[in-house]
Symmetry: C2
Subunit: 141 residues, 2 copies
DNA sequence: TGTAACTGTATCAAATATAGTTACAAATAT
DNA sequence: ATATTTGTAACTATATTTGATACAGTTACA
């Protein structure tokens, strides 16, 4: 397994939290739905917490809940919260600087990369967690 | 090395070819600029050839050249030619189908994924290889 | 205050993808 | 014929992601 599915898992996790309202949800419970290990969930929750999207409580009867209403959580903020890779990677090894193309291509690709990321962010920003919840409801209705 | 840099390398390769005009360019020559192994370049050229963007000649004095003018090669067609991964991956393991969220989330994410890919394609389609060549020229001017 | 139930995180193993390398058959200009 | 080049298979090395175990720290509650 190498393809980064953290965004997908994060959306799943947040959808679970949204449906629980103000109740604390345990990582074990979420893990059972995502079909993975609780630690994997806690790692994602840790990133979502750092981004201010959720808040967690340790200790007995602890767990995690949303830090704001689903309508205020855009998919863009989720995407940024979990450190996914870029849409495309730049050269692994720096190109030959003795070649005019090798010398100039990196910055061009870097700028392009930023623009694409921005475009993806804007597209994702058109949707919120609330949108996803509606879609999930419709999907299995 | 795991991040997929094939798109970046493909743009680099095609830029080299564009600058050579109608001359055949050898994979060794391109590899020297990209700073990698010729076989890596030939693998990319193989994909670009399958997409009809370049044409190659085997044998002595063989090599590769563009199959059409740089202005007619959009970055979208390059992106599609090299099999990059998606912007984000779906769940590695299928979610728990006994959970309403697990049952509905996959198709929602799949549709979202398609929409994002489409958006990326449109953005990349705004640029052509000719644009990149201009940018590279300006960058090291 | 003790106990049970959580999170947070370190650490390791397993699986997988990418890139790099070597090798060689097939093709082709001279 | 020969030298040169592509096309591709096979293998290695490396990085990343996920999954799993373990345990310290925190907290509610009897």
């Amino acid at each position: 397994m190498a393809a980064n599915s953290q965004f997908s898992m994060a959306v799943h996790v947040l959808t679970m939290l949204a449906r629980a309202g103000d109740d604390n949800v345990k990582s074990d419970y979420i893990a059972a739905s995502v079909n993975t290990n609780p630690v994997v969930i806690r790692r994602i929750l840790s990133q979502l917490n750092a981004a201010g999207l959720v808040s967690s409580q340790t200790g007995a009867f602890g767990g995690t809940r949303l830090a704001k209403p689903p309508a205020e959580i855009s998919l863009c903020s989720i995407y940024k919260a979990v450190s996914c890779g870029e849409v495309f990677a730049l050269h692994a090894k720096s190109p030959n600087q003795d070649c005019p193309v090798g010398r100039g291509i990196e910055s061009v690709l870097c700028n392009l990369q930023k623009e694409i990321e921005k475009s993806v962010g804007e597209k994702l920003g058109q949707y919120s967690l609330a949108t996803v919840i509606d879609m999930v409801s419709v999907a299995h209705a």
